[in-house]
Amino acid sequence: MNANVEGNVPGDVSGRQPKVAVYICHCGGNISDTVDVAAVAAAMAQYPGVAIAREYPFMCSSGGQDLILDDIAKLGVERVVVAACAPSLHELTFRGVLQRAGINPYLYEHVNIREQVSWVHKADHDGATAKAIRLVQAGVEKVLRQAPLSALHAPANRRVAVIGGGPAGLKAALCLAAKGHEAVIIEKAPWLGGKLRDLGKVFPTGAEASETLRKLEELVAAEKRITVHTRAEIDSISGFVGNFTITFNTPDGSSQVTAGAVIVATGFEHYRPHPGEFGYGQAAHVITLPELISLLKDSPPRRLEHHGKEIKSLAMIHCVGSRQVEGVHQPQADGKVNDYCSRVCCSAALYTINRLKDKYPHVRIYDIYRDIRSYGMQHEGYYERASKHGVLFFRHTETDQPIVESSERGHTVKVKDVLTWNEEMEMQVDLLVLVTGMMPSDTKRLTSQLKLSVGADRFLQEVHPKLRPVEMAIEGVFVAGAAQAPMDMTEAIAAGAAAAAKAAILLSEPEIPLKPFVAVVDESRCTGCGDCLAECSYQGTLVMAEVNGRTVAQVNPALCKGCGACVAVCPTRAINVAGWTLDQFEAMVEAIAKA
């Protein structure tokens, strides 16, 4: 690794204070509806060290970026502060602008006045404005003390590890191979295909899932650049962009794979109803939608049977395990209800109803829903077809859940139907089908070892749903398919291809730039006491060495993780984490306390 991190001395500005420009973004009203952006810009224009302060509707737009480029070119701006959305969204965008202008990209500070100001202080415009001013002032103090930094470079391993061999993972591996990359699929099940294996005919194509899977498997098997490991339980995953190491156990023993990037395509699990939820697991003839799909795969023509009983009528209840309401539904083990929509189940339910009606036109079907959300190209057609098939639809509210009473003779389902102005409807059916939703696969080991962000719904959370939809916040890690959110197979496959394209771009150069935020020693301040060595958990990162006849601490940037444990114990402040120095933080706190 080539380390090129300059010390923690602010950049050379020939003994004078550098010119700082401050930009306050409206975020099209997301910020400016709450924060008085003009007042923030006016306050910042007066702040010591600030050469220019402006406000602009969308700083991330090309217009906003040009504004910065112009100020650098015409006004000689040397450092930049942008107050906008969360840094995870646009810190890199603005560093890129500085780079394009020929300025060191690290002479930049991003201040979050959307997620942490305007969105959380909606009712307190004055308080939000005052807080935005405080935070931007702290940002200016930080950037004034910022040293120019250069990225470290690490050699990139061109291989990509794909975790999960469902439709998303298979597509990702095929696309990577087509771009000349080696792909290693690590799949915990004994086979490939994920949930596709359990499906019958699939929408929107009407193809047999087994046939689609067979084609995918053939393509994978024919591709020399793809290696597949099934029954593989991941044991550990470590490293960083360009250099990940994944250890996993298979029945044949422990194996290790090194890869430059990781695509997480671990998919979803079907929601399992709680024992007794609408009678599931306790009363006979209560099944889930995936179980109905399996039943239909092998059911004989003319007579629909479940466990020996002929089914002449059935009711489907939507949103079981999805769109749950606190206080109404039983929470999951983590104490939270699943308040999200599983998106695919409405279409899957309607599509299955039509298949069932095509095969067993005499079976009476009642469809009980809160909303029909059959999103997707022409999926509304499944609803229309089901109506033409004579399926009866009933709609309930979120709090008035259907009530099921089960006996030997079948199930009585009662529903307060919104479509008939809250009339109490009652129907007798032989089979009850719970339209169960999707929950993320258990990725605890992966998320805790790779430090991946998880959303409030427990699915993996990308950096930005529109701007960086398959990238995780940890560099070199991508997400594809239903591991990220409930989605159908066409979307999962598209996401697999997108993640593969992103990984291939990342690994296209032999070296990858790494963040330069590692410990740096100011040798002139170091007394050689060695206190920092005892504090470092990473062996070999810090050593004492002779430099110009003095013993001083030396950092190996390739090993340093940038945690800063050493910083706290240095009696002379000789050691700091580049880009996050103690002087910077003290100046920020001073600005916050003062304003």
Partner: protein, 126 residues
Amino acid sequence: MSLKKILIITTEHASYPAANAVGQGRMGYDANTCIIRVPDPVMFPEDFYIRAFEKGIGGIIIMSSGSDCPYEGAYERLAKRVDRVYAKMQEGGIVPSRLKLTTICSVCRAAFLKEIAEMEKVVAAL
């Protein structure tokens, strides 16, 4: 000097994203709070906290990543350091409840808000 400001020290990997998740959920809290983002709060020496109180910060919440911390041994070191900060606060006559070490993961929205609500009570009583 008004001592109503609360400084929240968050970690880049966990509690800073949690603060963003609170914003994305449009959940509210008081505007006397200011969040700073660090790789890990283990980098701050004892006197950093004492100086912050002297500068006029009312309360400090250190939102560490706890056992989810990506850095080996950092949480244990931080916890020991915070104990030493409490000792220094006592020597300087600073109420110990003005400093709180807690752990917040990237989805701990409710816990994030609860910590702020508790510190609000502390600074209100100063």
